[in-house]
């Protein structure tokens, strides 16, 4: 059972904003208003790519109060499973897509005295909406934005102009400018919250430094969208639905279940939210847990799996679904 009410949208504009990054403006097909959202929210975009129905999460980067359209920015990932290629190469203005209601798994803490953002590359997108909301609410924030080259980085000029050089700091790998995370974390007033979005290595490094410098876990926030890893095909028995399906090499269990016409719960499709937690009846083989939601004890128990990103290395898994 999905809790989303999906909305058909058409692509009103496509703008190239940096090397390999395009912005898509999505307006409702029925001309209605978009729901308001809060900074940090994302939508799941459903794309009919030939016979394949793709579902990818993208952060909303338009202004949270703007109900005329949603805007997302998409990086064309070379090693992706195809969602970003499809949007970059096959979608043009006027085409139709479907988006979910906005979901926020990366909200900012309204009690914080100050908010510190660390963005890596395309990880800037949730912060664009957060900063728009915070600027309007008069909150204290600071952005540290790292990119490979200035032409790879999206929106840094606009953000620097809008919020000024004291609130927006740019770091470029090729210029040998790196975020001095330790120094920044050491000088923040008590009550500061820190948010990081970017490549996995950056997220781990920043969170690790926060912890090492005595930042409480309540003040450390991150968003990590995981694309479902690929692997050898295996069989899944859906016990309650009475179906047996094959999960393909480039398919997640959730996608295979949906393709078989079974409505499974999901929200983020990235191993973060916990919505698609599914009980395992039995399995032959090794469980490959790729999510960041289940506790280590749950993973070790072999009783639960997040079907959006995790797989089986083996023959058959029987799910209570």
């Amino acid at each position: 059972m999905t809790i989303n009410t999906e909305m058909p949208v058409h692509v009103a504009a496509i703008t190239k904003v940096a090397d390999s990054v395009k912005r898509f403006r999505l307006e409702r097909v029925d001309g209605g208003v978009m729901p308001v959202f809060s900074g940090g929210a994302h939508v799941v975009v459903a794309m009919q790519d030939g016979k394949l129905l793709r579902h990818n999460p993208y952060s909303l980067m338009s202004r949270p109060g703007d109900t005329s359209a949603f805007e997302i920015s998409v990086l064309r990932v070379e090693s992706s499973r195809g969602g970003s290629h499809f949007l970059h190469d096959k979608i043009s203005v006027g085409d139709t897509l479907t988006v979910s209601q906005p979901i926020n798994l990366f909200p900012f803490d309204h009690r914080g005295r100050k908010h510190l953002f660390f963005a890596g590359g395309i990880g800037i997108t949730p912060f664009i909406a957060m900063m728009a909301q915070m600027a309007q609410e008069g909150r204290n924030f600071e952005l540290h934005y790292a990119m490979r080259t200035r032409s790879h980085g999206a929106y840094w000029q606009e953000l620097a102009e809008r919020y000024g050089p004291s609130r927006v700091k740019i770091y470029c790998d090729v210029e040998n400018l790196f975020i001095p995370v330790d120094e920044i974390l050491a000088r923040q007033p008590l009550g500061t919250h820190m948010y990081v979005c970017g490549p996995a290595g950056m997220i781990d490094a920043v969170l690790g430094k926060g912890k090492a410098l005595g930042w409480p876990r309540q003040n450390l926030h991150f968003e990590r969208f995981l694309a479902p890893p690929t692997g050898k095909p295996f069989e899944a028995v859906l016990q309650r639905s009475g179906k047996t399906i094959t999960v393909g090499e480039h398919q997640s269990m959730l996608e295979a279940i949906e393709a078989a016409g079974v409505d499974a719960p999901y929200l983020c499709r990235g191993g973060a939210c916990g919505q698609c937690e599914t009980n395992i009846v039995s399995c032959t083989g090794e469980l490959l847990h790729n999510d960041i939601y289940l506790e280590p004890a749950d993973k070790a128990s072999g009783k639960k799996i997040m079907i959006c990103v995790s797989r089986l290395k083996g023959e058959t898994i029987t799910l209570d679904i």
Partner: protein, 196 residues
């Protein structure tokens, strides 16, 4: 008479020194000093070099002074300690860990000061020491009474007979007291000492 399992009832998990903290700030009331003294016995004195202790109460002053912490400051009264704590938190940096110990009323009031500075209550380390007396708000007249030991108790402001509930407000730093004999005034049972 007390409804069990009310979620807002605070839980004090006890002191444990955060090894990663760059600075430790202790606010201790009365017997709360022992929570720190016990930690020193357990993990040694090293963390005291980057510790500041704010203390109120007659007892244990000498033992705290003997610790040789970076800063020790004794307040004459709790409100004075809370003022100093507020100023301290305004100027503190991330990496400072806050520890509170004493009666529930003290921990609650100190935590209220910390919450007003944007600190998450989950990140504050607490240990309950000393009396079980409660700080209670009368939900009818909104008057707050400190050190309530009996159940029921007579509101010191409006005189109603109140049932002290486990229902707790972090914003007010007080348990909620509700009139126990509204239908039949005077029918309340005699007060018993329940929070010694």
């Amino acid at each position: 008479m007390l409804v069990q399992g009310i979620k807002s009832r605070p839980v004090y998990t006890g002191f444990a020194i955060d090894e990663n903290a760059q600075r430790h700030l202790f606010a201790l009331e009365g017997e709360g000093a022992r929570a720190l003294l016990d930690q020193v016995k357990k993990v040694g004195k090293e963390f005291l070099a980057v510790s500041e202790i704010l203390h109120v109460g007659e007892a244990h002053g000498k033992e705290l002074a003997a610790l040789g912490a970076d800063i020790l400051w004794s307040a004459p009264t709790t409100p004075v300690l809370l003022n100093r704590l507020r100023q301290n938190l305004i100027n503190a940096r991330m990496g400072t860990r806050l520890y509170l110990s004493g009666t529930e009323g003290f921990i609650g009031q100190a935590m209220k000061v910390a919450l007003e500075q944007g600190i998450d209550f989950g990140s504050i380390v607490t240990e309950h020491r000393g009396s079980e007396a409660r700080r209670v708000q009368c939900v009818h007249c909104k008057g707050i009474t400190d050190n309530v030991t009996t159940q029921p108790f007579t509101c010191s402001h409006c005189g109603l007979t109140l049932l002290v509930r486990d229902h707790y407000s972090r914003r007010l730093a007080a348990f909620q007291g509700v009139c126990i004999d509204a239908e039949e005034p005077g029918s309340a049972p005699p007060p018993e000492v329940r929070f010694p």
